[in-house]
């Protein structure tokens, strides 16, 4: 049995504690929590509020906010143990060089009121030592079917790609919904199309899945839609994305 200490007991720390309890080969032996006001009895495992009392363990999983990762790892009262953080946007080298460093990043948003479907969560792993990557892989495989090994540089790039396909996409949903509301159209008419678009690209490359007036370079429809948007805050977004789609498929003619 491999032992894990969870450092930080917010949404991520709590979700990991629960998940690791369900594995065959790993156990949480201790939780470290900075908030000394909480009652010891409210934790599912032995808890400490004092770093000096940290137990020896095979893995220390730092689950604090991005800004605190460096400081917390510098405060650890030991050397040369496997210490990993769980952040998508922080490089492995933000951790104290006194430890064997690594990253155990689940690409997933955690919320306290929603149970995590671990088996579908992609894990991005990184470590300095080969043995440590093996231990992280073993843990990730007990939780999920989707385990990837990525460098800090790749993880940073992945984070940007996620901004495109998640944050920007959600904003387009918001703009579509606002536009429907403005014209008294129930937005749920578009729900099936939204699901279909998201599922389609899991089977067909998005390059081939593209449809619409910009894809066809249908100037009549494009001009008529631009006229509908004249002077609104949507106008620039419409122009920018339309130009990008046209340019994407212009290239194929060359």
């Amino acid at each position: 049995m491999k032992s894990v200490v969870i450092i930080g007991f917010g949404n991520v720390g709590q979700a990991f504690t629960k998940a690791i309890a369900g594995t065959d080969n790993f156990e949480v032996v201790q939780i470290f929590c900075r908030n000394g006001k909480l009652k010891t009895s409210s934790f599912p495992c032995p808890v400490t509020f004092d770093m000096k009392e940290l137990l020896p363990a095979d893995l220390y999983l730092i689950c604090v906010s991005d800004d605190a990762i460096g400081e917390v790892s510098n405060d650890l009262p030991f050397r040369n143990r496997l210490v990993v953080h769980c952040s998508g946007s922080i490089p492995m080298t933000a951790l104290s060089a006194a430890q064997r460093r690594g990253v155990f990043y689940p690409l997933q948003s955690f919320s306290p009121d929603k149970a995590v479907e671990w088996s579908e969560v992609p894990f991005c792993l990184e470590a300095e030592k080969e043995d440590d990557i093996e231990l992280l892989t073993a843990l990730a495989r007990e939780l999920s079917d989707r385990v990837y090994s990525l460098s800090s540089e790749q993880r940073k790039r992945l984070h940007l790609a996620a901004v495109l396909v998640n944050n920007f996409v959600n904003h387009l949903y918001y703009l579509g919904e606002s536009y429907c509301r403005e014209h008294d159209i129930p937005f749920d008419i578009l729900h099936p199309l939204i699901s279909e678009t998201a599922l389609k690209i899991q089977n067909i490359p998005p390059y081939e899945a593209q449809t619409g007036p910009a894809r066809r370079n249908d100037q009549k429809t494009l001009n008529s839609q631009l006229l509908q948007l004249k002077g609104s805050s949507l106008e620039e977004i419409y122009k920018t994305l339309t130009t990008s789609i046209i340019a994407t498929y212009e290239r194929e003619k060359l």
Copy 2:
């Protein structure tokens, strides 16, 4: 039993013929097809290649390409019957004024190799006469649980909203995938996040579902990501959408 004549036998006409055959109260009594080269035996119902032979019917469903709708409706050799088209972007008034006009628009992409899940397809209906709306509603309800009554103006607006949440969203998937490919990251890491984002807004308004650096106005991350994109074709899209997200949530502070 209400009788339907299908005019045009492309993807849409074929899909409707099949679907109507499965209803309790409607039947396809005839198909009109312009392509006289096809064999009569290849049609599932009586077929004609000559408009003068069109049978009397309760409903004529025009399933030809957008550009041909006006011409085909003008060629019909009768007056004052219920004639509808199935297009999202063409106004009802494109149909000949000699008929009782209407629209029967399924918001769905049709492809010959994929069976349509009709029960989930939203139908947008329009007609000049109250009785005709009732007949169209009865037919749509036999096919789908999602039936809406929209004016031509609203349908045109809906079409633009669909460009935002389908065409533009798909292009962002393409850009995310290209960016991953460039940096040797398997795009399928992002598949679960893409599905989650699309499903989330069917329960939570997209305004509330928004996350990411632009939502938090996290200038450090925004600048670092812009630096990654410097000089690439993604730069302007990143700037435009980030500015729009920041402006959206700035408003709430006022």
